[in-house]
Symmetry: C2
Subunit: 232 residues, 2 copies
Amino acid sequence: MAAGEGDLKLLGLLVSPFVVRVRMALSMKGVSYEYIEQDIFNKGELLVRYNPVHKKVPVLIHNGKPVCESLAILEYIDDIWGASVLPADPYERAIARFWANYIDDKMFPSWIGLLKAETEEEKAEKVNQTLAVLMHLEDAFTQCSNGKAFFGGDSVGYLDLALGSNLFWFEALRELFGVAFIDEGRTPLLASWAERFGEAASVKEMVPSVDKALEHAKKFRAFFAAAAAAAK
Amino acid sequence: MAAGEGDLKLLGLLVSPFVVRVRMALSMKGVSYEYIEQDIFNKGELLVRYNPVHKKVPVLIHNGKPVCESLAILEYIDDIWGASVLPADPYERAIARFWANYIDDKMFPSWIGLLKAETEEEKAEKVNQTLAVLMHLEDAFTQCSNGKAFFGGDSVGYLDLALGSNLFWFEALRELFGVAFIDEGRTPLLASWAERFGEAASVKEMVPSVDKALEHAKKFRAFFAAAAAAAK
């Protein structure tokens, strides 16, 4: 059996950026798989069995063996199905990995923190944090794109997926909080990149609707408010 | 010029596990470089210039171009100087990346939290957290080693470096807090692995002394106590 053959399943949540980036990568490579939506507010047996350490989506299950953590999954997909989304050059690859980790370690906690914020003061702090990390990512675009259309150069690459999978959430956050996080005035390079990314045929069918994000945000905020109240 | 040639510098801190793992990898491959110790309590111009986003060590500067984040540096070293420390098999590589991230995202914050803890209650909590993550790493050893001597199989690999670079700190923590974190009773596989790792000729000269760790711990705790007092 060739490396890419056999049974492939993905445990996911349709509105998770971490899941969206994996689905985009699989779609770009024309890999078919069984998608199994998970209830993250009431974690089921499959998720606990295949990701016992973190119990988080996404989990890619290839011939019964789980791969967890979305960035590790993107590397695995590159290794197994080829047509790498990571840059070929080792230095560019190192830089792409650096910024992808930055997105997950700094950018994601900032904007998700906005949904968890209880007071106006906390909200303002998270808005400012998110805007500050996006300014760094504006610089990252200059560093990585070499003047081309995408972080990955002429076509969508690893870092485009890492950041682009969050874009529909910024739309939802604009509706919820009235802040345009990616904005022509403040982050002009990211703003025009975001338009190109949204139109890229290879990924656009995997972008969830803003309504789905808003619906999830409502559940998510209720869940966190209940947890915060219980902790008091 | 071949990929591995040219000028190589490492900005580091001798007692940082993140720096130690990079030095071990370079030593294993026989790569020579200029080592430049940094003062992390009073960050200098070099660190700010070469890692403006995080201002953290290690930074590997190859022909004037910086690579930051220790796990990304290990991948870069593999790519440039060969003799990979990462497993050759894509699935094993995905699992190694998963656990290395676990070490940095869960294990490191637990034990460093112990040094920052102000109350006995906080200390007890961090001790328990650290013991819990080490139980997961005991399972990881079974999963990764396939019954061999190291996480990487017959010789020291990526995950051995990721975890092994923290071992001298566990010795220091035992002296400071009286807890044997890696212990024959609780984590027998890790305990015997730690002995083998400590004796591995390829890495042992890069392990700082426990006294150096204790000396740093003293400065670190004073620094954090002052910062906590200032924030009150």
